[in-house]
Symmetry: C2
Subunit: 575 residues, 2 copies
């Protein structure tokens, strides 16, 4: 008999490692243990099952060739033994056994291992508020919950819903409830923006507007303080500011590593709760490996350890763990937090650090914000993506890239390319020369990722100065706060006209781009110009020119009208 | 007065450098010289102008904010002087002057420079065959030609056309002629596949079938030997094998660097005709820079010099040249030949080396071929991409990635990520852990790029053995050539049935994936199995299992039915 390998956890990293191990060591006896009856499913697909895009939950646990990944499948197709509805209670590291409980019978047994792998995943954080266990309150943590959610909606029991948490799952679930089912949905987020720490405020505001445009109420900076319950069922959510009626509440405030089993066994677990592994995915016990949502890995940009609960990461980590268990040295160097989410017709993505996070991590961070076309601007169907690149001014290293774009893979392509570059410590100059495949139907001669680096380069070398969106919005909401500021709109006169009409020419001055060289002497000398165009690139050129003629009191609004149109604002002229 | 910078060439690298220079050195006197009257256009957009996707040629030379980039624009908006319809005749390096001829008046002058930049681009290769200058014969080399082509078609003068050359421009032009205008179009390619040296035969065959499915006649391995002319006009193209009627001939057999000016001035020019530059884009004369289609750069995978005539590359090189001219040290390390082309509803892309090229370059190259979903296989609208990864067996370095896919940016995203990885010498193991942004609408938990690396890893470590598509096709066309071979189809029985019926069970044996472990003893022991499934992954698993039970005489058909369905074959059962 071959090596006995026991894997605790049967969703992503566990099954991946199990199958890989059987291929590497056909003689090995590989057993996967899971407390659930349903295993090996694509948890990230749950919102699309709830929405109806995926008709049957079985599709989430089927292969691409439509076989359901159940106990039969693992046995017959993979040669892997599965013990479902079985909980791993504890690990006896000295005797190399795991104590098990059959959850159907209550019977306790133990299983011996030569090598153990922990793929225990993560568990949803449940806000400790009154009513959190009422009927109609759900987390999005497993297929049973997903089935229950969809069942309740399909039975017409949900007219209104509140999603607590404005992260990826909250947003996906809000879309799922709204889009097909027409549930009146609100998102309540404790922080003052959606996707906090993942993207920064300007792009979060684009996302927020997009959700509002799709009838989702978004309440930011509000904590859910109580789930109001009647007859055991949820009827509302009370925040510090309001009470929102709800037949259903989705709690999506994040996950934490499921690491109690490891901790109880004396394995090293980090402060964030992640099981500490080395690059070989080995825990502090050399006979125990770990992979997936339950582990702490190195963030390749910050250099610190972090938890990255993604199914894709789990698969890659699981494979590396399996290789090492089978005696093939393999390393998993860490992650860069690649992220993408669909919100109706919007893509929102990021990789690396946000500006806010980068500064919190001590970097001398700044950002470039741009709004280029996602392919040749003359190609039919082109659309705008808004990109923010975060970089360190001292080292010129790129720290992150984030963006919003139309619902295609254009943003994804930039995030993916950036992910590779960030993983090797690429600088602004490296990004400036990334060789994206070019042809007008797919990209532009100056690709958005290169252009973002160009701007970063100009900022880093102090050739460009900019105002933040936060400062610009704050001023536009109260122009008298800085009466000497003036927008210098260098777009075509017809584009500037509605703004000039709305704000007056002393606040919003129109001087087209191609006339500045001839007419700059007409400009007032007692104003600070906020140079404004569609995308920011003309503004930068005008800044350079104004500087060269001594009108140095100017700044660029990066990203320009393309960005603020998507962010929305009360003061924007009605178009 | 500032530095005098003269730039010869006004299409891509030239204007990019000129504008960048004016931003870096507002005092500089920057002059762009071009022999054409139309400058700064997106030459890569010509096929889309001819097709009608882009209505007006002006769009190809307009900014994203719809200003035409003409002499007025460069003067007023950019502060750059342009001398159009002006040919640079020669360079006097000692006196630092360029001799010019005004092509409208014939008048000769000269211009002094402190720094000169050559952005002379490339010129189309015109096959030296009789009739190549007849009316109706075109290259796709500038906007005038594009206008003439579209004009001739729009006037209804073109019922049939022949495109000579099966490279990117040939394919794009063939689509342009066929799609909107309904011109009966043939492609004649001298090599025995489309996109020679860019992609390998299996993917080229997918492209070929796609073109044929869209009514384009594709003639491979045929040289155009004569353009048959009557009354000065083309009437047909004669190849070694046939004569094809044609009212129009598009010659698209490639371009060569336009480097005569440089060569005549004694600058170092490579054997391929490219102007040799260092990483700072400096020619062998330190006061002369060069960028764009006319230069020779380092291929970061092969390590050799090559010419990379892409508008995107030209822009990046132009910016680096400008930086250096302005005293900002910048490097352009080289290229990895990122490539993508649209052919009707198909995307075809590549980066790095093809298998054939890699072997010709002396690498110990092998390939992995796969056919995964472009996003989560359960997500609506998912489609298959066919990916070939080329790697070196000795160093485990990835040498190239190529693919075909649906008409979205999914393939582009993989090519782009690979481009970054190839530029830093990534290995199979690095590719296995590339962190593509994951969410079901955008990708899959095991991304195609990771999966391709997994297969490469298994091949490299000799855990997997495969048959090439070439060998498989050759055997299927003549099964008696290897009577002891047998396809072992591990797909569902209903999928295998039409094949078993067509070929008989001794040639095409059906044994479903999940039954092999129980029924392998039924298999014949005197056959070599070609294990067959939809994508190749089940086949590999079955190979590992068969090996473990001693049935080691087996091989995998990589990519499986997904690939051969797209390649097409006479012997395929009608579905």
């Amino acid at each position: 008999m071959g090596k006995r390998i026991v894997i605790v956890g049967g969703v992503a990293a566990g099954p991946k490692a199990a199958c890989r191990l059987k291929r590497l060591m056909p003689d090995a006896e590989v057993t996967v243990i899971d407390q659930d009856s349903l295993i090996s499913y694509g948890g990230c697909g749950i919102p699309y099952y709830v929405s109806g895009d995926v008709a049957d939950e079985k599709e989430l646990r089927s292969t691409s060739f439509h076989m359901v990944r159940d106990e039969y499948f693992f046995d017959k197709a993979k040669g892997v033994k599965t013990l479902t509805s079985t909980r791993a209670l504890s690990i006896d590291r000295e005797n190399k056994t795991v104590q098990l409980e059959d959850l159907k019978t209550g019977m306790r047994t133990e299983i011996e291992y030569d090598t153990l792998m922990l793929a225990t995943g993560s568990q949803p954080v449940v806000p400790p508020i009154p009513g959190n266990d009422a009927e109609g309150v759900f987390t999005v943590s497993d297929l049973h919950k997903a089935i229950a959610i969809k069942d309740m909606i399909a039975k017409g029991k949900v007219g209104k819903a509140v999603v607590i948490g404005g992260g990826a799952i909250g947003i996906e679930m809000a879309e799922a409830l709204t889009d097909l089912w027409g549930v009146e949905t609100s998102i309540v987020e404790y922080m003052d923006q959606l996707l906090p720490k993942i993207i920064d405020w300007p792009l979060a505001t684009i996302l927020e507007k997009h959700l509002r445009d799709h009838s989702i109420d978004v309440h930011l900076g509000e904590a859910a303080e109580e789930i109001v319950v009647q007859d055991g069922k949820v009827v509302a959510v009370r925040t510090g500011k309001r009470t929102i009626d709800a037949d259903m509440v989705i709690m999506a405030v994040g996950v934490r590593p499921r690491s109690k089993l490891a901790k109880d066994a004396g394995l090293l677990v980090s402060a964030s709760g992640g099981i500490v592994v080395n690059e070989r995915m080995q825990t502090s016990d050399p006979d125990i490996y770990s992979a997936g949502d339950c582990v702490d890995i190195i963030h390749l940009v910050s250099g610190k350890r972090f938890v990255a609960p993604f199914g894709s990461m789990a698969n890659r980590e699981g494979r590396v763990a399996a290789n090492n268990i089978a005696g093939i040295p393999s390393v998993f160097k860490g992650g860069v937090a690649s992220f993408i989410v669909k919100a109706f017709e919007l893509s929102v993505g990021s990789v690396g650090l946000s500006l806010e996070t980068a500064r919190a991590e001590g970097f001398d961070a700044d950002f470039s914000l741009s709004s280029p076309s996602d392919r040749a601007h003359f190609y039919p169907g082109q659309d705008i993506i808004c990109l923010e690149m975060i970089f360190d001014k001292r080292t010129r290293k790129v720290l992150g890239l984030q963006g919003t774009g139309p619902l295609n893979d254009a943003l994804s392509a930039r995030i993916d390319a950036a992910a590779v570059a960030l993983s090797v410590g690429a600088t602004i100059d490296d990004f400036a020369n990334i060789e994206m495949a070019y042809s007008p139907p797919f990209s532009s001669a100056i690709d958005p990722i290169n252009a973002a680096a160009y701007i970063a380069d100009n900022l880093c070398d102090k050739r460009m100065r900019q105002i933040t969106m936060e400062d610009f919005y704050s001023w536009m909401a109260n122009p008298s706060s800085n009466p000497d500021w003036q927008v210098l709109d260098v777009r075509h006169e017809t584009q500037a006209a509605p703004f000039v009409e709305q704000f007056g020419s002393s606040l919003w001055n129109s001087l087209p781009y191609d006339q500045v060289r001839d007419r700059y002497l007409e400009l007032p000398t007692d104003k600070k110009f906020i140079v404004f165009c569609n995308a920011g690139s003309r503004s930068f050129e005008i800044q350079v020119f104004l500087d060269s003629v001594g009108l140095t009191n100017n700044t660029v609004l990066p990203g320009g009208f393309n960005v603020i149109k998507r962010m929305g604002a009360e003061w924007l002229p009605v178009s």
